[in-house]
């Protein structure tokens, strides 16, 4: 566990959360509770379909819960306005696939969160260059996404997720679509960026090797949290 988590407040609180799909026929989360302190880096581990991605989605407010409570930075993720505000200023999201817009340049893609938040263009550009330098994609900023390699795209997605300097980074298999070399590079970058800024990260992953480098490893199974892994 890093230094931040010892004395910082709770960043994410999930209490007895239930979530089902298809009119209640498919129960994905069954009374999940989780608490993550500020500055913690937590890995959610478990097999496919155990509910890792859904848990990240309810934390970010992308999915509404059936019952239970989700609180991020002390705010209940219930109202649409709260969700939008959290996604604009407090939460960054990285997916297994980069999900960049193919016809925009990498720089334009990265500026989408700035547009959403109504941020200042110059400040946005300054931040973009800072992050691009940290992730080694500065030379690719003017290129369209379809011209980038897989690793560059995922690094671009990482830059986009950090543009509004979020307190909480949610990562859903962020390296799952990359080859071994790129997986290591991107994860290292991710970890460095998060730790150096004292940010909180919750990462869903199959990769126990990557999970082992996180502060905590939470094992999920069949929609429930089984416990912490050593």
């Amino acid at each position: 566990m890093n230094d931040f988590s010892n004395h910082m407040m709770t960043q994410v609180m999930v209490r007895d959360v239930w979530k089902s799909f298809d009119g209640g026929r498919i129960e994905v989360l069954k009374g999940v509770s989780l608490e993550v302190g500020q500055g913690e880096v937590v890995a959610l581990c478990g097999t496919s379909g155990c509910g890792k991605s859904t848990l990240l989605n309810v934390i970010s407010g992308l999915e509404e819960v059936d019952r239970g409570m989700v609180r991020v930075a002390g705010r209940d993720v219930v109202e649409e306005s709260t969700r939008v505000d959290l996604l604009r200023r407090h939460i960054g999201y990285v997916f297994q696939l980069h999900h960049l817009m193919p016809d925009l340049t990498l720089a334009e893609n990265c500026l989408v969160p700035i547009i959403a938040a109504g941020g200042h263009r110059q400040e946005g550009l300054a931040r973009l260059h800072e992050l691009a330098e940290a992730t080694c994609v500065t030379h690719r900023l003017g290129q369209r996404v379809r011209e980038l390699s897989g690793g560059e795209r995922q690094r671009g997605a990482l830059v986009r997720s950090l543009m509004n300097d979020p307190e909480l980074l949610l990562c859903d298999e962020p390296t799952g679509a990359l080859d071994e070399r790129n997986r290591e590079t991107v994860f290292e970058l991710l970890l460095n960026l998060v730790r150096s800024r004292g940010r909180t990260m919750i990462m869903a992953t199959h990769d126990l090797g990557l999970a082992g480098r996180c502060d905590r490893r939470v094992r999920m199974r069949d929609g429930t949290i089984e416990g912490e892994m050593n």
Partner: protein
């Protein structure tokens, strides 16, 4: 990068789809402006025929068409006897046929009528305009292949040609001017005319004529020209028809925009979801869709203006239509078409914007 840049990028990457949407609106605008312009021009030309240096028109009450109005010619003399009337000219409107030409507008008028003074005489002169001698508009002389001094066959009779005159008004230029008694005889309307056009004497007011007619000739109605234009059923029907036809064209244009925007939304559901993940509110997503639709309609409107201008002035340049087409488009019509276009953009984007704004980002990201 701004929201508008994203909008432009979205439109640019699907150029064909954008062009189809814009074309739908362009055709709607062009159809509306062309139809309104053409029919408005026709109404204006008919109004000019009625005005004829006068301020008022007297006609039979409760007739659906001036061709069916029967006013005694003697009323013109009675009106001219009033101090408030400067001149009162009876006009008999009719439609006549000749071999090879089934419809020719016919004006039964007196030799003193202002129309013959206003026209440019190309052949003959007003002195010959009497008995069974007619004056032809320049175009009518052309298609009837007639010259001053010759004869032509009209309806059941044969008439001499007293002259050929060039008129500015297309209907008059393609029409036949017949001495009023000959016209009455040809159409079995002895002693009758369709309307009397009244010019007011200096220092007098239109209401004096109206009051005199209301008091002394209750079967007839006197209206100033503008009032007549507004209330005449035929003009109203023509104007309403023009707007309805144009409106239908807009409806099709609107469907085209809706279709374009639906395809646009369905084609990038994941992108919209990512925009939501990046913090776009539902309102911002909807604004982006409405912005795209408005931009498509703006392109369509500009193209529609150009297209309607080309249609109207192209038709006017066609020799067969010369004189019959006098496009009449004012700022009000152009502004109305533009306003309708903007309304179409908003209505057309309503469902796609609603759909895009209501997307569940998490589900949309799973969408294949």
């Amino acid at each position: 990068m701004t929201l508008w840049r994203m909008i432009l990028t979205n439109l640019r990457r699907h150029r064909v789809r954008t062009a189809i949407g814009a074309t739908g609106i362009a055709l709607g605008v062009a159809t509306m402006l062309s139809v309104v312009g053409l029919l408005g021009g026709a109404v204006k030309m008919f109004e000019q025929i009625l005005r004829n240096d006068s301020q008022m028109v007297v006609f039979e009450k409760n007739v659906s068409d001036l061709f069916f109005s029967n006013v005694p010619v003697g009323l013109a003399a009675e009106l001219e006897a009033q101090p408030c009337v400067k001149t009162a000219q009876p006009v008999l409107f009719a439609v006549i046929a000749s071999p090879g030409r089934s419809i020719i507008t016919c004006f039964g008028i007196q030799a003193s009528d202002g129309r013959l003074r206003r026209g440019k005489w190309l052949q003959g002169g007003v002195a010959g305009f009497k008995d069974d001698a007619v004056v032809l508009g320049e175009r009518a002389a052309g298609f009837l292949n007639a010259k001053a001094g010759g004869t032509i066959s009209l309806g059941q009779g044969t008439y001499g040609v007293a002259g050929v005159v060039r008129m500015e008004n297309g209907f008059e230029n393609g029409g036949v001017f017949m001495p009023l008694p000959a016209c009455q005889k040809a159409f079995h309307k002895d002693g009758l005319c369709s309307v009397i056009t009244v010019a007011i004497a200096d220092g007098h007011h239109l209401s004096e004529v109206r009051d005199w007619i209301d008091t002394n000739r209750e079967r007839f109605s006197a209206m100033d020209n503008d009032e007549f234009s507004r209330s005449y059923a035929q003009f109203q029907i023509i104007k309403v028809t023009a707007w309805v036809v144009g409106g239908c064209a807009f409806l099709l244009g609107g469907l085209s925009v809706t279709n374009t925007m639906i395809l646009s939304v369905f084609g990038r559901i994941k992108e919209l979801a990512i925009a939501r993940v990046c913090g776009f509110s539902r309102g911002q997503v909807a604004r982006m869709i409405f912005g795209e639709s408005l931009l498509i309609c703006a392109i369509g409107t500009l193209s529609g203006w150009a297209l309607s201008w080309a249609v109207l002035y192209g038709l006017r340049a066609v020799p067969q239509f010369q004189g019959y087409i006098e496009p009449s488009l004012g700022w009000a019509e152009v502004a109305s078409a533009t306003g309708l276009s903007a309304l179409t953009a908003l209505l057309g984007a309503m469902y796609p914007a609603w759909y895009a704004a209501r997307l569940n980002p998490a589900q949309a990201l799973r969408f294949e």
